[in-house]
C-alpha cells in the first residue's frame, strides 16, 4: 500500500468516527427543534446545539481534506479547491459543486448576528439537520470510490476504531 493511500484510509477511518459523533449530536438536537426562544434554552441545550454545529463543520472540513487527498492520488489539480470539487462531481461523489458551497455557507452563517433571532437560529439548525444525511452520503460515496480504486484496503467503519 502506498503511503498516500494509507493516508486516505486513515482519513476515512477518522470520518467514520466523526460521523458517529455527528449522528449522536443530531439525535440530541432534533427534539430541541423548532427553537421558539433561544434565550430560554438551558446551558445543556446550548451545549448540545454547539456540539452539533461544531461536529457538522468538522465533518465537512474532513470530507474536503479527504477529497483533496483523493484528487492528489489521482494526479488531478488540487488548487484552487474548486478544482477538487469539480473533480468530485466527475467521480459522482458530489452531485453539484453548488450543494457543497451552500452547505459550507450554511455552517458559517450562524457565527454572526443571529443570537437574538430565535426564528432564524431555528431555521439554521433545521437546515443543518436536513443537510446531515447529505454529508453522510458523500462519505458513503467516498468509501465506495476508494474500495473500487484502491481495493483491499478495508474502508469500512468496523476498521475505523
Amino acid at each position: 500500500m502506498s503511503e498516500h493511500i494509507q493516508l486516505i484510509r486513515k482519513k476515512i477511518g477518522h470520518l467514520h468516527r466523526m460521523r458517529i459523533y455527528l449522528d449522536y449530536s443530531l439525535a440530541q438536537t432534533l427534539p430541541l427543534l423548532p427553537i421558539v426562544d433561544f434565550q430560554a434554552l438551558t446551558p445543556e441545550q446550548h451545549e448540545t446545539l454547539a456540539a452539533f454545529r461544531v461536529r457538522f463543520s468538522e465533518l465537512q472540513e474532513q470530507l474536503g481534506k479527504t477529497m483533496r487527498a483523493i484528487a492528489r492520488e489521482e494526479e488531478q489539480n488540487t488548487e484552487p479547491f474548486s478544482a477538487v470539487l469539480h473533480y468530485m462531481t466527475k467521480l459522482c461523489i458530489l452531485d453539484t459543486v453548488e450543494q457543497w458551497r451552500l452547505i459550507r455557507e450554511l455552517r458559517n452563517a450562524v457565527n454572526h448576528e443571529y443570537e437574538e433571532n430565535s426564528e432564524r437560529l431555528s431555521e439554521f439548525f433545521e437546515e443543518l439537520t436536513q443537510a446531515t444525511p447529505i454529508l453522510n452520503l458523500w462519505l458513503q460515496r467516498i468509501v465506495e470510490f476508494c474500495e473500487k480504486a484502491y481495493p483491499n484496503h478495508l474502508y469500512t467503519s468496523s476498521r475505523a476504531s
Binding site: R101, L102, E105, L106, A109, H112, E113, F124, E127
Partner: protein
C-alpha cells in the same frame, strides 16, 4: 468607492432576484476607501422576510459574479442593530 457601475448593476440584479425587488442595498466597509486595495465587498441589505437558504444562494452568486469574497448582511427594514446603523450611516446606498 472601489466598485464599478457594472458591478453595482450585478449586485442589484442578484440581490433582487434572491431577496425580492424591494430589497435595498448599501455598500460599506473597505470598498468605500479609495486608498485601500482588494478586500471583501461588504453589503448590507434590507429585505422582507425570506428563507435563510435564499440569502446563502445570493451570497454564493454574488461571489461568483464579482469574483471576490462578499460579506452579506441581510436584515428586515427598520432593524435597530448596531451593524444596521453602521452600514446605513457610513455606507453608500446602491
Amino acid at each position: 468607492m472601489r466598485v464599478t457601475f457594472p458591478q453595482i448593476q450585478t449586485i442589484q440584479q442578484h440581490v433582487h432576484r434572491h431577496l425580492g425587488d424591494d430589497a435595498a442595498v448599501w455598500l460599506f466597509g473597505s470598498r468605500l476607501d479609495d486608498a485601500q486595495k482588494g478586500g471583501d465587498v461588504d453589503l448590507y441589505v434590507e429585505a422582507a422576510p425570506h428563507r435563510l437558504m435564499d440569502e446563502l444562494r445570493c451570497k454564493i452568486d454574488l461571489e461568483d459574479a464579482l469574483d471576490t469574497p462578499v460579506d452579506l448582511i441581510v436584515r428586515q427594514p427598520f432593524d435597530a442593530s448596531p451593524i444596521a446603523s453602521i452600514a446605513k450611516n457610513q455606507g453608500v446606498r446602491l
